[in-house]
């Protein structure tokens, strides 16, 4: 039986349930990332739920900085691409966003 007070007091953001992202989906994505990924401890998807939340918030914030420079109030996919280009840490996403980057640096990758 879930001890709601113990756990939710720690991780609840106040609005949604204990986790902002579904653990089963995270686990599926982890397993798909490589054939060597076999066993995953129970805490791993929970850790990723938090890590993804931090990642999404950071990339969103950086994208929004690009949006407001353009004097609009709508965050577009080009703004996300610009934020990725401007952040070295997000180099692993370059291929993913290059399709919508304002100045594509490499050819469109096959999907």
């Amino acid at each position: 039986m879930r001890q709601a007070g113990t756990y939710s007091g720690m991780v609840i953001s106040g609005k949604t349930g204990p986790h902002l992202l579904p653990l089963a989906r995270i686990k599926k994505i982890m397993k798909k990332s490589g054939e060597e990924v076999k066993m995953i401890s129970g805490e791993s998807p929970i850790v990723f739920s938090k890590a993804c939340e931090l990642f999404i918030k950071e990339l969103t914030q950086r994208s929004w900085m690009v949006t407001i420079k353009g004097k609009t109030r709508t965050l577009s996919k080009e703004d996300v691409a610009s934020a990725v280009l401007a952040t070295d840490l997000f180099d692993f996403l370059l291929n993913l966003v290059s399709q919508s980057a304002p100045a594509p640096l490499h050819p469109k990758p096959p999907n």
Partner: protein, 140 residues
């Protein structure tokens, strides 16, 4: 929208997280949410690969939360690594409390006030316990 046949994170959840950080008047295009959905999914794959390589090199079969923290550091994402180490520590503490509570319930019901006290201690120690106890390795 089938979220790329369940290969990406759900767009509704991603959109909700994005809105948490944006001002109330901000608008979010559908394509921006889709792009973020793909980026977050790639983030998981990228970090998991790094963690998995390390496990493989060390002949360990099970990836743990500690492996993910180390992978975040190795990939230059130190700011996330620090926050996640603290989060993992709090999670493990909460799990310990939960297990102790359910064990105590099997014998007596007089320990309920202990659970409530641990709820209120919102100041976790920053010394992350890096060796998970056997209780923590709940295999999925």
């Amino acid at each position: 929208m089938v979220d790329e046949q369940n290969r990406t994170l759900p767009i509704a959840n991603v959109g909700r997280i994005m809105k948490q950080i944006l001002p109330p008047s901000a608008k979010l295009s559908l394509e921006a949410k889709q792009r973020m959905q793909e980026c977050a999914t790639e983030f998981i794959s990228f970090v998991t690969s790094e963690a998995s390589d390390k496990c493989h090199r060390e002949n360990r079969k099970t990836m743990t939360g500690d492996d993910i923290c180390r992978a975040l550091s190795a990939l230059g994402l130190d700011n996330y690594a620090g926050a996640i180490v603290r989060y993992l520590h709090k999670y493990r503490e909460a799990e310990r409390e939960r297990v102790i509570a359910s064990q105590n319930k099997a014998t007596s019901s007089s320990r309920d006030e202990d659970i409530e006290e641990s709820d209120q201690s919102g100041q976790p120690s920053l010394q992350a316990d890096e060796t998970p106890t056997p209780l923590m390795n709940i295999f999925i």
